[in-house]
């Protein structure tokens, strides 16, 4: 069964305290692993796509990595404005090339 699991559900960090969010996936025929940021009352906003194990992408304080079973979103020296829910999604081969989403990690960065 295709499944995406994110951990932890919630994370509170002090400003400047680095950490990582985990996304484990079991999807047959992965077309890509996607990270999104979602602010309250808004739609998900695209951050990164990773296509193959070993690939890394960076943007400001965020860095995404991918293995054959997991993806990590590393947050370095976070700021309060990084507070949001972070979603990962695995896109699979097949009819519709569907996205399978995890339930997200709610990140709060305390000044």
């Amino acid at each position: 069964e295709d499944q995406v699991t994110q951990s932890p559900e919630a994370l509170r960090l002090q400003e400047g305290e680095s950490s990582s969010l985990n996304c484990s996936y079991t999807v047959s025929g992965l077309r890509g692993l996607f990270w999104y940021r979602q602010d309250p009352g808004k739609g998900p906003e695209f951050l990164f796509t990773l296509y193959s194990a070993g690939e890394e992408k960076e943007k400001e304080r965020l860095k995404a990595t991918l293995t054959k079973k997991e993806s990590f979103l590393h947050i370095t020296a976070p700021k309060p404005e990084d507070s949001a829910t972070y979603l990962c999604a695995a896109r699979r081969v097949g009819t519709g090339n569907q996205f399978y989403f995890g339930t997200g990690t709610s990140l709060t960065v305390i000044p």
Partner: protein, 112 residues
């Protein structure tokens, strides 16, 4: 660029009423999706379309219908609304089989 536009943003329905959630994209994307998002449950796929005239069911299609008469528009129809359909609904589109999905701002629906 407008991207993906959803209307309305908020709606309250009475049990048994019907309504259509509108979704339009101006990026000429072939793939379009409807999701619902419930607290702690993540985004669940309701219906999707790979092009004009082609639609198919996702994970949770019961109580919903869609149509795709043009590339731009992908409306979601709720017939006989039920309290279980209280949720936030998101429409999304992608250019092809590999690229990211762009989301609308969502429609918050309450059925009372």
């Amino acid at each position: 660029n407008a991207g993906v536009t959803q209307t309305p943003k908020f709606r309250i329905l009475k049990i048994g009423q019907s309504m259509t959630l509108q979704c339009a994209q101006d990026m000429n994307h072939n793939y379009m999706y409807w999701y619902r998002q419930d607290p702690g449950m993540g985004l669940k796929l309701i219906y999707y379309s790979v092009g004009a005239g082609i639609t198919d069911k996702g994970e949770v299609p019961n109580g919903y219908n869609v149509s795709r008469s043009t590339t731009e528009d992908f409306p979601l129809r709720l017939e006989l609304a039920a309290p279980s359909q209280t949720s936030v609904y998101f429409c999304a589109s992608t250019q092809d089989r590999y690229t990211e999905a762009f989301f609308g701002q969502g429609t918050r629906l309450t059925v009372v």
